[in-house]
Point group: C2
Chain length 347, copies 2
């Protein structure tokens, strides 16, 4: 469909099975309320000196919750490059008793409650307050991704952990409460709702077409960039304007099983996508999430589970329509967003 | 569980089947970024004179998209009390050709796209710029609810409309672009994702227990208030702090079939809940959504579909964990929120 002739269109994707409404006209609506744009742009290098009160800064390690492991600085100084620590205000608690096997899979779909057992960790991506993830070189970004993978691997060995959600909040309107560059992961004693619906949808697609939904993506129109091992696309039914998915080109269920060479390749692509978003959208707040498979999946599920990393710049506020229906309204067609992102120089 | 001994707990509800993590400790975490609180409190009566530029104000009708119907002012003046109009920047377009029957239920769960056909309407709740919905008397609020029901009824008669999402955005951080008190509805040519998952979850509960998930709610701990026909509760697995559901006490699938007396009863309860939220949470931005059944449901589905109205004050920003996993983290236990809301005088 030619760009000029585009009006509204509704699309359903083959990964989450969600409908999204594309409506370019929506971006022209007026407002008499305060701007919806990025209310709090992320801190950048211009922000100046490290905040003396930031517990994530080098030298303030004692103000943090316990360290799980660290990646030492490459120059063999006493310093560190990355720290994985416990979250001091965890949503789920590692000290809580894990749910007993009979609580784990409560019968039926009725109400149920389990103890708040789980792991909530923070990954401090750099010792320096003013450095953003995409200011690091590809090796630096790769170190962060490898730290995720290593920690996910550790959590996968706990029998009561069913899933680990790895995510990053950058900027206050993306939910961040700490400015110092970091990400988080939460190991849950249940398979979260979106993971379940993703698996169900991909299973249905596989059963009807014999294909993995992500392996089946062909369109060059939505491609932003490609490396030997990964593709970066704006998904066919993106819920958010300029949303990007980075997908391994070879079918693979678990993020944490990615080998070191591939992780480095991923790191380069992730850095370049974050740079493109930063340039095109003026340093927007954003989130990224790694969508992997739940642990202990039966081997029959592996052919249709395929991990990917989703990047979502936060450009608008969600309203009652999205909250009520689960259907998003996106003013930017994926093909148009992909074209714009393809054309930006990321260096 | 006694309030003092509460740490974290994970709960799954019997309506959407979603897990929610309750973690009171989370509310104590520090921030070095700008406040997450209501960034843009809703305009109140103190805001003063009507905005000369507001197209929703009395006398500016010609600046609006076409009117669908109006509720005349009670005093038989040429004025109006409520107007239902077309949205000037619609997400879906009534002029578009409705999807052909073969597009309507695309085979399989794969990618699909349909023309952007649908109805996007605005309900102007009052002619006066500075009046908020809960400033109206119960009859006034009832008039708004009856206008929703009347318009939903009209849309239900269109063969290509599968669902109507009625919703209200109040305040910029709840997504509102217009300050003048209004709500919206979107009639979609597909059943939206959350409606599907709600139906599937309630069906499973019904099949395993023989009960409608909403009729089965018993607990007095989560009750905020009750009238002859409706209960207001903080749901057992509320995704958001101080979220309220108003539920018809008698099993009923469709909101728009509620009779006039019951609507008036609902209006009084809705007004009182909005007043309580306004008092307790200092005039927060909020959304409300009516969750009803899709049109043309087979009669075998009616025993487990039960409509309700969900009110969500917007107190915090969603982060990557929620976006990725679909699982919310709520720092306030429903029993605690219900107790606080019960005790506030709403008058
Ligand atoms: N000294 C210290 N040692 C160890 N850890 C420390 C610490 N000081 C603070 N922390 C932790 O560091 C984390 C920083 O995380 P983010 O800035 O990404 O967002 P946060 O988790 O606060 O909430 C956002 O993300 C979550 C999850 O998506 C949403 O629930 C929420 O609404 C949104 O604001 C916090 O979780 C905090 O508990
Ligand atoms: N003169 C006129 N005549 C008729 N209609 C007019 C008009 N001038 C403006 N409008 C319409 O009035 C509506 C006002 O709606 P709201 O303030 O509730 O939020 P909006 O729909 O902008 O977006 C919020 O809600 C939607 C749906 O939830 C989210 O997609 C979005 O991100 C969020 O900001 C707009 O939809 C606008 O198109």
């Amino acid at each position: 469909m030619a760009e000029a002739s585009r009006t509204s269109e509704a699309r359903r994707d083959a990964v989450f099975g969600r409908w999204v409404i594309f409506s370019p006209a929506r971006s022209r609506r007026p407002t008499d309320l305060k701007s919806h744009g990025p209310a709090n742009p992320s801190p950048g290098p211009d922000d100046g000196a490290p905040k003396p009160s930031c517990p994530f800064c080098l030298g303030r390690e004692s103000e943090c919750a316990p360290e799980i492991f660290r990646v030492p600085a490459p120059d063999a100084s006493p310093s560190w490059q990355i720290r994985v620590i416990e979250n001091l205000f965890p949503a789920l608690r590692r000290e809580a008793e894990p749910p007993a096997p009979e609580d784990e899979e409560p019968v039926g779909a009725g109400e149920c409650a389990v103890r708040g057992f789980g792991f909530h960790d923070v990954v401090i991506e750099t010792p320096h307050h003013e450095v953003r993830l995409w200011d690091l070189d590809a090796e630096g970004v790769g170190g962060v991704l490898l730290a995720y993978a290593r920690r996910v691997q550790q959590l996968a060995e706990h029998p009561a952990v069913k899933y680990v959600q790895v995510f990053k909040n950058q900027g206050a309107s993306a939910g961040a409460s700490m400015a110092h560059s970091h990400s988080q992961m939460l190991g849950t004693p249940f398979v979260p709702p979106s993971v379940n619906s993703r698996l169900n949808c991909m299973k249905e697609v596989f059963e009807s077409s014999g294909k993995c939904s992500l392996c089946a993506i062909q369109s060059k129109d939505i491609l932003v960039s490609e490396t030997h091992n990964f593709s970066a696309i704006v998904p066919f039914a993106a819920s958010y304007p300029f949303e990007i998915w980075i997908i391994p080109r070879q079918h693979s269920s678990y993020f944490h099983e990615t080998d070191q060479d591939k992780v480095l390749d991923l790191a380069g692509l992730l850095k370049s996508m974050l740079q493109k978003l930063c340039k095109q959208l003026n340093d927007p707040p954003f989130n990224y999430m790694i969508h992997s498979a739940p642990f202990g999946l039966s081997s029959s599920c592996l052919p249709y589970t395929h991990w990917f990393l989703q990047i979502v710049p936060q450009l608008s506020v969600i309203g009652g329509f999205e909250m009520g229906s689960g259907c998003h309204i996106n003013p930017v067609f994926p093909e148009d967003a992909a074209k714009i992102l393809r054309e930006i120089d990321s260096s």
